[in-house]
C-alpha cells in the first residue's frame, strides 16, 4: 500500500492493474473460464448445477416431511402408503402440541440453560484467556498445557465418572443432580473457547495495553475497558456456538435433569416420545418442528459468524 503513494503515476497504474488482475484470477477454480464459454462446457455446467439442485432434496426432503407431517391428522399420519401432500391439513396440531407438550415451560428451561451456559462460559474462558495472553504469569505454559490437553479428551469418555462426580462433589459433598448448575458447570470447562479467545487477544497489540498500563489502568480495567470491547467478533462466535450447542445438548441434561420441570425441550421431547407417554404422533412431530425452529432461525441470522466458527472448530476438534 505504501508503495503506491511513493511511486510515480505510471508505476502506480501498473501496480493497480496487477492487483486487479490478480484479484480477478484468484476467483477462478478448477474449471477454467474458457471452458465455460464453450457450448459443451456450458451444457455440462448446467447439468451439474441441476444435479446439485436435485440433491438438495436430500436435505430439504426430510425437513419438508417433518413440517408437513405435523399437519396430518392422527389417521392420515399412519396411512400406508403415506400421502406426500396432506389431504386435510390440521393447523391446530401445532397449537395443540404447543399446549399439550407444555412447550412454554420447556422453551423457558432451554433458554435458561442456554443463557447460563453463555454467561458462565464467556466469563470463565475470557478471563482465563486474558490472563494467558496479556498477563502471562509464571507457570503459564503448565496451565496452558493443562487446559489444551483436554481438547484431546472427548467428554463422553469420562461420562460415567463425571456423573458420579456430579452426584457427590469432592470435599463439599453436594449433589448437582436435578439442578441446572449440574449442566452449566461441567460445560463451562471449554478449552476450545479459551483457545479461540486467547488467539484473538494475542492479536490485540501490546502497545495498546502498555499505554493503558502506563496511564495507571490495573489488570481489571485493562480487561473490561480495552480487551473485552475490542473482542466483539470472537465473543460473538463463542456466544452463538454456545447457544446452539446448549440447545442441541441431549445426553448430559438427560442424565442430570430427571425432574421434568427442569428439563430442556430436547430432553422433554425424548421423554414424550416414549411408549408410555401416550402422546399423539402428529403432536410429537409438531414438537420436533418447534425444537428445530430456533437453531434454524439463528443460522439464518448469524450465517456469517457460524460459517467462520465451523471453519475454526472443524480444524480444532
Amino acid at each position: 500500500m505504501q508503495n503506491v503513494h511513493d511511486a510515480t503515476p505510471r508505476e502506480g497504474m501498473r501496480w493497480f492493474r496487477r492487483r486487479m488482475s490478480s484479484e480477478a484470477s484468484s476467483e477462478r477454480s478448477l474449471v477454467s473460464p474458457l471452458m465455460l464459454k464453450h457450448p459443451a462446457g456450458r451444457v455440462i455446467y448446467w447439468l451439474v448445477f441441476s444435479l446439485l439442485l436435485f440433491s438438495t432434496l436430500i436435505t430439504f426432503g426430510p425437513l419438508y416431511w417433518m413440517f408437513e407431517g405435523a399437519l396430518k391428522s392422527s389417521v392420515e399420519i399412519f396411512q400406508t402408503p403415506p400421502t406426500f401432500w396432506t389431504v386435510h391439513p390440521e393447523w391446530s396440531n401445532y397449537i395443540n402440541a404447543w399446549n399439550i407438550l407444555q412447550l412454554p415451560l420447556y422453551f423457558r428451561n432451554s433458554l435458561i440453560l442456554a443463557a447460563g451456559a453463555v454467561i458462565l462460559q464467556v466469563l470463565v474462558s475470557a478471563s482465563a484467556a486474558y490472563a494467558l495472553s496479556k498477563l502471562r504469569p509464571v507457570g503459564k505454559s503448565v496451565v496452558q498445557f493443562g487446559f489444551f490437553c483436554t481438547l484431546m479428551v472427548p467428554p463422553v469418555v469420562y461420562l460415567i465418572p463425571q456423573f458420579a462426580n456430579i452426584s457427590n462433589l469432592p470435599l463439599i459433598h453436594v449433589s448437582l443432580i436435578n439442578s441446572w448448575a449440574g449442566v452449566w458447570l461441567p460445560e463451562a470447562a471449554s478449552a476450545f473457547n479459551i483457545l479461540i479467545l486467547k488467539s484473538f487477544f494475542d492479536t490485540i497489540p501490546t502497545e495498546l495495553t502498555d499505554a493503558a498500563r502506563l496511564d495507571g489502568a490495573n489488570a481489571w480495567q485493562l480487561f473490561t475497558r480495552i480487551i473485552l470491547p475490542l473482542s466483539g467478533p470472537a465473543l460473538a462466535v463463542i456466544t452463538i456456538f454456545t447457544v446452539i450447542a446448549s440447545w442441541k445438548d441431549f445426553l448430559w441434561p438427560l442424565l442430570v435433569l430427571s425432574e421434568s420441570d427442569l428439563q430442556p425441550l430436547i430432553v422433554a421431547l425424548y421423554h414424550e416420545s416414549g411408549i408410555n407417554a401416550n402422546l399423539p404422533f402428529n403432536y410429537l412431530i409438531a414438537g420436533l418442528v418447534f425444537a428445530s425452529i430456533p437453531p434454524i432461525l439463528l443460522f439464518m441470522l448469524f450465517q456469517r459468524q457460524i460459517i467462520r466458527g465451523v471453519n475454526l472448530t472443524g480444524l480444532k476438534g
Binding site: L30, A128, L135, F148, I266, I307, R308, G314
Partner: protein
C-alpha cells in the same frame, strides 16, 4: 504453509475483516514462541518487563493473573481433570452409587472382557466408523468440489447442505426413525413409487447399522463440506494457470493441483471423523435401542447400559477407560499432524 493460505481464504469467503485472518494465523504460534519467553525469566519481552516494573511489581502481576485464571482452574480441576482420574480409579472399584465403593482390582475388566456384548459392541462401533468413512468421507469433498465450481447460487447450496447440521440431534433421529418406518415412512413410499423393493430397514440386523450411518452422515456432512469449501477457495489460481500452460486437462488439474493442496485438511478431517464416529451413541440409543439382535449396540451404548441399566458404574468405567485409550491414540495422531502442519510442513 499450504494450510495458512487456506486460512486466509476462510476469512475472505466468509466476508470477515482482516481481524478474522489474524485470529486464525495467530493460532499457530502460542505454544512455541511465548512459552520460550516465559522460560527466559517470566516476563514477555524486555520492553514489556520495563513497563511492568514501572507500573507494578511482578508479584502483583502474577497474583492478578492467577485471580483471572482461578475460575477456569477450579472448573477444569473439578469437572475435567478430576473426573478423568476418577474414571481410572472407578474402573478398579465396585460402584453402584448407593453403597460405598469397594476396591476389586481387575475384576471389572475381566467381567467386561468376558461379556459377549463386548466383542459385538466393538465390532459394531468399528463397522459404524468404516461405513461412515465409506458413505460420509468422500461425499463432502465431492459436494464441495462441485459447489465450488458453481457460478450461481453458491450461497444457496451452502445453506441447503448445511441446514441438517443445525437441527438438534433428537429431532434428526426421530425424523429418520419415522422416515424408515416400514408402513408410514417416506423411504418405503418413495421406493415403491419407483417400483423398487422396500424393506424393514431398522428391523433387519443386516441393514440397521448402515441405516444409522446414513442418519449420522446426513446430519454431519454439511459442516465438513463447509471446511472443504473454504480450503478449495484457498487453492491459488496461479497453480491452475501454470498447470494449464503445462497442458494439464481438468482431471490433471484436479489430481495434481486441487487434491494435493487440500490433502492436509483431508487427512485432519479423516482423523477427526474417526474420533467422532467411534463415539456413536444417540442414533442407536434413540432409533434402535441397540437392536435388532444387538446389531447396533455401540461401545458407548454399552457403557450407558452398564451404568444406567445394571447400575454397575465400575464396569462402565472400565469400558470407558478402554474407549479412552483407543481414542487417545487417534487424538495423538491428530495432535502430531496439526503440530507438523502448523510448523509449515
Amino acid at each position: 504453509m499450504r494450510l495458512s493460505s487456506s486460512f486466509l481464504s476462510l476469512s475472505r469467503t466468509s466476508g470477515t475483516t482482516q481481524r478474522g485472518s489474524d485470529l486464525r494465523s495467530s493460532q499457530q504460534k502460542p505454544l512455541s514462541a511465548q512459552d520460550n519467553r516465559v522460560k527466559n525469566g517470566g516476563s514477555a519481552s524486555p520492553r514489556e518487563s520495563r513497563v511492568w516494573r514501572q507500573t507494578g511489581l511482578s508479584l502483583q502481576r502474577n497474583l492478578s493473573a492467577y485471580l483471572f485464571l482461578l475460575p477456569a482452574l477450579v472448573i477444569f480441576a473439578l469437572f475435567v481433570w478430576y473426573p478423568v482420574v476418577l474414571g481410572f480409579i472407578m474402573s478398579f472399584q465396585s460402584v453402584d452409587m448407593i453403597n460405598p465403593a469397594v476396591w476389586v482390582g481387575w475384576a471389572n475388566y475381566r467381567h467386561v472382557f468376558s461379556d459377549p456384548l463386548f466383542g459385538i459392541a466393538w465390532r459394531n462401533t468399528l463397522a459404524f466408523t468404516g461405513y461412515a468413512l465409506l458413505f460420509g468421507y468422500m461425499m463432502p469433498i465431492l459436494l464441495a468440489l462441485l459447489v465450488n465450481e458453481m457460478r450461481h447460487g453458491k450461497g444457496f447450496f451452502r445453506l441447503a447442505f448445511y441446514l441438517p447440521v443445525m437441527l438438534p440431534p433428537i429431532v434428526t433421529v426421530f425424523l429418520w426413525r419415522w422416515i424408515y418406518d416400514p408402513d408410514s415412512g417416506l423411504l418405503n413410499a418413495l421406493l415403491s413409487l419407483l417400483h423398487l423393493p422396500d424393506g424393514l430397514w431398522l428391523e433387519n440386523p443386516g441393514t440397521a447399522l448402515p441405516a444409522l450411518v446414513i442418519v449420522a452422515t446426513w446430519s454431519a456432512a454439511g459442516s465438513t463440506m463447509l471446511i472443504y469449501l473454504a480450503a478449495l477457495q484457498g487453492v491459488p489460481a496461479m497453480l491452475y494457470e501454470a498447470a494449464e500452460i503445462d497442458g494439464a486437462n481438468l482431471w490433471g488439474r484436479l489430481w495434481h493441483v486441487t487434491l494435493p493442496t487440500i490433502r492436509p485438511i483431508m487427512l485432519l478431517l479423516l482423523v477427526l471423523q474417526i474420533i467422532a464416529t467411534m463415539q456413536v451413541f444417540i442414533e442407536p440409543f434413540t432409533i434402535t435401542g441397540g437392536g435388532p439382535q444387538n446389531a447396533t449396540t455401540s461401545v458407548l451404548l454399552l457403557i450407558y447400559n452398564y451404568a444406567f441399566q445394571s447400575a454397575d458404574f465400575g464396569e462402565a468405567s472400565a469400558l470407558g477407560v478402554m474407549l479412552f485409550l483407543v481414542l487417545a491414540v487417534f487424538a495423538l495422531i491428530y495432535m502430531r499432524m496439526t503440530s507438523r502442519l502448523m510448523q509449515g510442513d
